[in-house]
Subunit: 495 residues, 2 copies
C-alpha cells in the first residue's frame, strides 16, 4: 500500500482481521487542503469532487478560471472509487465503461487510457456456468443458455411497441423526443411485468426481476419502467450490447486512477484550490453579486458562480438562500430508489473466474459474477443486492457472508464494500427514479438558480444519465456555461 492513503470510507473484512472501517484508495487527496486565506474569492466554486465536479473543475481551471473545489469526503470520485488492495482495484461504485458511452470514452481516449480496458468476464476456467436459484428451484446452465434466457425475457419486457422500444424511444440521448413514450412514464417495473405476465415463464419473470433490480437497486414496485427503457435504448436495444456497455469493460488501473487524471490536469494549471473533508452547509446568492458558500466548519468562500454537484438524495441537506426551487426540494425529499448493495469477495478458487449466478427472491444478494483475478491468484467476485430484501453489510457481516455463500460454496478470503445507503453524501447509488418522477422533476432539477448551477449525472441530459458518462456530460455542460458567462480574455503571451 505504498503511496496509497487510506480513506475513512469503505469496509474490509477478512477471516483473521474481522471487519475494519476504511480502505486504501488512490483517490484520497493528501494533504486534504490547498487553499489559503488570500484565496477566499474565486471565479467559481465547485461543490463535490465526483466525476461531474472533477470534469467541471478541469474545464474551468484549464480555461484560466480560478476555481475552488469543495468536497465533504477525503477523496475524489463521489459514487465512483476504487480501493487498491495489493495493487488490485476493487470498485466500490461506478465500474464499467464502453466506447458507446461518448463522454467517458472521449476522456479515456484523451488521457491515452483506452488500453486500460479489460474484460470482467473470462469463460476459460472450470466453473464455467451460470447458477440460477429461484423460488422454482436451483440449477445451473451454460452462459449461452443464460444469455438466451435473459435476452428473450428482456425483449418481452421492453417490447411495448412491437419494435423492442426503437419506435417509442428512437433517440436514447433524448428519451422523450417521441412524446408517445410518456404514456409509460407512470409505469413501475412491477406494472410492466403484470402487463406481460401471461406471456412469461417463471424463469423469464425471475430473469427480468433480477436483472432489472440489478439495474435499479430498488424494488419492482418503486422502480420506474422508463429508466430501464432508456438504458435499453442506449444499449442499442439489445440485451447482449446492453451487457457489453454496462457490465463488461472496466479499467485495469481502477476508476480512482482515471479520476485522478482530471484532478491532476486541473492542478497543473495552478488555478485550482481545494478543500477535502469539507462539507458545505450553506449557499447564499442573495447578498451581493458574489455567491457565498459556508462550510460546516464555518469557513466562508465567495465566487462569481457556484456549480453544485450534490446528488439528488442529499441535495436537500444544503441550505440554499434563496431556497431550493420547490420541485428540486420535493424531488430530493422523495429521493430516487437506488439502495444498491455492492459487495466484493475474494474467493479462494481460481476456477470460479468463469462463474456467474442469480439467487432471487429469497437471498439478500441477487446477482453475482466473477469480475477478475486477484494478485493472490484467487477469483474476485462481485455481488449486488437492492432495496428489496435490503442488507446493510457492515451491520451484519455474517448475514452478508451467508448471502454470498448462498450462490455457491465459496471459501471467502476477504470482503470489500461501501455502504451507499448510509453514505451521508449520497444516500444511495446511481439514480433510478420512481414512476413518474423523472418526467415530473427533470426540468426543474436542471434549472439554475441565479449564479448557482446544478450539475449531476442524476439529471444529466444524455442517454447515460446515472452513469459516469452522464456525470462527465453534466460537468462539461456546466463548465461551458460558466466559461461563456465569465468569458476569459487573451492571456499575455510568455514568449
Amino acid at each position: 500500500m505504498t503511496d496509497i492513503a487510506t480513506s475513512s470510507e469503505g469496509w474490509h473484512w477478512a477471516p483473521d482481521g474481522g471487519l475494519v472501517a476504511g480502505i486504501p484508495s488512490k483517490g484520497v487527496i493528501q494533504p486534504p487542503q490547498s487553499v489559503t486565506s488570500s484565496d477566499a474569492m474565486f471565479d467559481v466554486i465547485v461543490i463535490g469532487a465526483g466525476y461531474t465536479g472533477l470534469t467541471a473543475t478541469r474545464d474551468l481551471t484549464t480555461s484560466g478560471l480560478k476555481t475552488l473545489l469543495l468536497e465533504g469526503r477525503d477523496r475524489i470520485g463521489g459514487r465512483t472509487w476504487s480501493s487498491n488492495i495489493d495493487g488490485y482495484p476493487y470498485e466500490m461504485g461506478g465500474t464499467w465503461v464502453h466506447w458507446f458511452q461518448p463522454h467517458v470514452y472521449r476522456e479515456l481516449s484523451r488521457y491515452g487510457m483506452i488500453n486500460e480496458l479489460v474484460h470482467s468476464t473470462d469463460y476459460s476456467k472450470r466453473h464455467n456456468y451460470f447458477s440460477f436459484a429461484t423460488s422454482s428451484g436451483r440449477r445451473t446452465m451454460s452462459h449461452e443458455e443464460e444469455d438466451e434466457l435473459f435476452s428473450r425475457a428482456m425483449q418481452k419486457f421492453v417490447n411495448v411497441d412491437g419494435d423492442f422500444g426503437k419506435t417509442v424511444m428512437p433517440f436514447p440521448f433524448n428519451a422523450y423526443w417521441n412524446k408517445d413514450v410518456l404514456k409509460y412514464a407512470d409505469l413501475s417495473v412491477a406494472d410492466r411485468i403484470a402487463q406481460i405476465r401471461h406471456d412469461l415463464s417463471e424463469d423469464e419473470r425471475h430473469a427480468i426481476e433480477s436483472f432489472v433490480l440489478l439495474c435499479s437497486g430498488g424494488t419492482a414496485q418503486n422502480s420506474a419502467f422508463l429508466d430501464f427503457l432508456r438504458w435499453w435504448a442506449a444499449g442499442n436495444y439489445d440485451y447482449r450490447t446492453l451487457l457489453d456497455t454496462i457490465i463488461v469493460f472496466k479499467l485495469k488501473c481502477g476508476q480512482s486512477e482515471f479520476a485522478l487524471r482530471f484532478f491532476k490536469e486541473a492542478l497543473a494549471t495552478r488555478n485550482l484550490s481545494y478543500s477535502f473533508k469539507t462539507a458545505v452547509a450553506k449557499v447564499d446568492s442573495t447578498t451581493d453579486a458574489l455567491v457565498r458558500v459556508t462550510t460546516r466548519d464555518g469557513r466562508q468562500f465567495r465566487a462569481k458562480r457556484v456549480i453544485c454537484t450534490a446528488p439528488l438524495n442529499v441535495l436537500r441537506k444544503i441550505a440554499f438562500n434563496p431556497p431550493l426551487l420547490a420541485e428540486k426540494r420535493e424531488a430530493s425529499e422523495l429521493k430516487h430508489v437506488n439502495q444498491c448493495v455492492k459487495v466484493h469477495a475474494e474467493i479462494k478458487d481460481p476456477e470460479m473466474r468463469s462463474w456467474s449466478g442469480v439467487t432471487y427472491p429469497n437471498n439478500k444478494l441477487v446477482i453475482g459474477l466473477a469480475d477478475g483475478k486477484t494478485p493472490a491468484g484467487y477469483t474476485h467476485c462481485v455481488f449486488f443486492g437492492c432495496d428489496d430484501n435490503h442488507i446493510h453489510a457492515d451491520d451484519d457481516i455474517d448475514e452478508t457472508l451467508k448471502a454470498v455463500k448462498e450462490f455457491a460454496p465459496m471459501d471467502v478470503n476477504r470482503l470489500v464494500f461501501h455502504n451507499w445507503s448510509k453514505d451521508e453524501f449520497a444516500e444511495g447509488a446511481w439514480v433510478w427514479y420512481r414512476p413518474g418522477m423523472e418526467v415530473k422533476y427533470l426540468d426543474a432539477l436542471r434549472r439554475r438558480q441565479n449564479a448557482v448551477l446544478f450539475a449531476n449525472s442524476d439529471w444529466a441530459a444524455g442517454g447515460w444519465r446515472s452513469f459516469i458518462d452522464g456525470a462527465i456530460q453534466s460537468g462539461t455542460e456546466a463548465a461551458l456555461t460558466v466559461r461563456g458567462e465569465l468569458q476569459v480574455g487573451p492571456r499575455a503571451t510568455h514568449l
Copy 2:
C-alpha cells in the same frame, strides 16, 4: 442566401443555369483574414481548418494559448462542408454522425446540438423500394429484403474468425490489440472476396462489392480488407448497426454550422488569429527554438509549436525542413485509395423519398439513396461513385446525369457536388488504405518531428479513423500534448 457567402469550391448544375463553379456555404469565413503584423509570433500555428484543426484551435485558444489558424481554402471544415441552398444543407463530404462515435457526439452534446439529428431515411413514401441493377439484371426489392441480402453478404465477408470479427478485433478503438488480426493486413477486398467466392451468390458478391466500394471509394483490388473490418467492429459487428452509425443520422442545420461552433468558440477567447486562402508552402523547424511557417504568398509566421493537419494525400506538398520522415513521405506519395465521387441530386418527385439503389459494376455511380426533402418539396438523393469506373462530374455533366438516371427514371432539378479528386488540399476523400499500408505506416504518420505535430483523421488512433470522429480525436490529442508542453500558468483574476 442572405448572410451566406459563396465558396470558390464546389459545383452547381441546373437545367437552366448549367454548370457553375462555387456554391454558398455557412463555412466561408469573411473577412478571410484576421492577423496583424504584431501577431507574427504565436504560441501555436495550426495548419488546416478541418475538424482536426478546428478542434485543436479551440482547445488551444480556450486554454489561453495564442493561436494562428492557417487554411488554404476560403472556408472551414476541410473534407466536411455543407452548401446551404435555400436554407437546405447539401453535404459535400462528411455527413453522418451517431452517438456511438464518442468524440463527435461529445461535441454535439457539448454544443447543445443533439436535437439537430435527423434521419436520412424515410420509408413512408410511394417509391418505397430498393433497386438493384447488376450484371445479373435489374430488379427491385423491399428495404427489408435489401437489408437481409446485404447483412447476410457482409457477414460472410467479415467472418474470418467464425465470430464475425469479434474474436480477431475485440477492441475497435485499438484495431491491433489482438496481433492475430495482422495476418489479414495484406489482404485486399478482392482477395477476401476470392477466399469466400465459393460461398457467395452473385447477388451477395455484388452486394459486398458495391457496399465496400461505397465505404472505400477505391477499387476492390486497391482497398484494404482490414479497414473494412475496423469499420465493421466499430459498428458493433452488425450490418444494421454499421449503417445506423455511418449513413443514417445527419445534422438538420448542416455540418458547416457545427464546424462554426468550434471556430466561434475559439474566436470568442480573443486568442485566435487566422488567415484563410492561405496555403502553407514551408515549415522550418531547424533555425531556432521557434518554428517558421512560410505561406505560398511569402508571409512568415513563427510559433513554439506547429500542428499540421494536412491530409495524407497532400502532406508531401508542404516543404518541411528538416524533411518529412521517409515513411511519412512514402505514404503520402503512395496515397490512400479513396477517390469517392459524391453527387447530390434534387429530384422532382416527392415520392422518391423512400428509395435507394445500386447500379454495379456497369455505371459511373454505384449507390444512391434518398437523403432528405428539399424546401421545394422535392426529394434530395445522394449518389456515390468510386475509383472503379471513376468520373470527374465537373468534366462531363451529361455523363453524370446519365449515371444518376441509370438508377431509375428521374427528373433532375439540380446537381450539387465537390470534386474531391481534383481538390488540391485533399486529393481524395476520407482515408482508406491500400493493403498493408496501414500497418506499415500508421506509427510513422503519427510521429511528431521536434516542435511539429501531425494530426489528422487519416491516422487517428480511434476506431473511427477516417470519420469526423477521428478528426476530433486527433485534434484533441494534439492540443492536449501542446498544452502540456506550453503549460499555461494562472491567469490574473479579474474580480
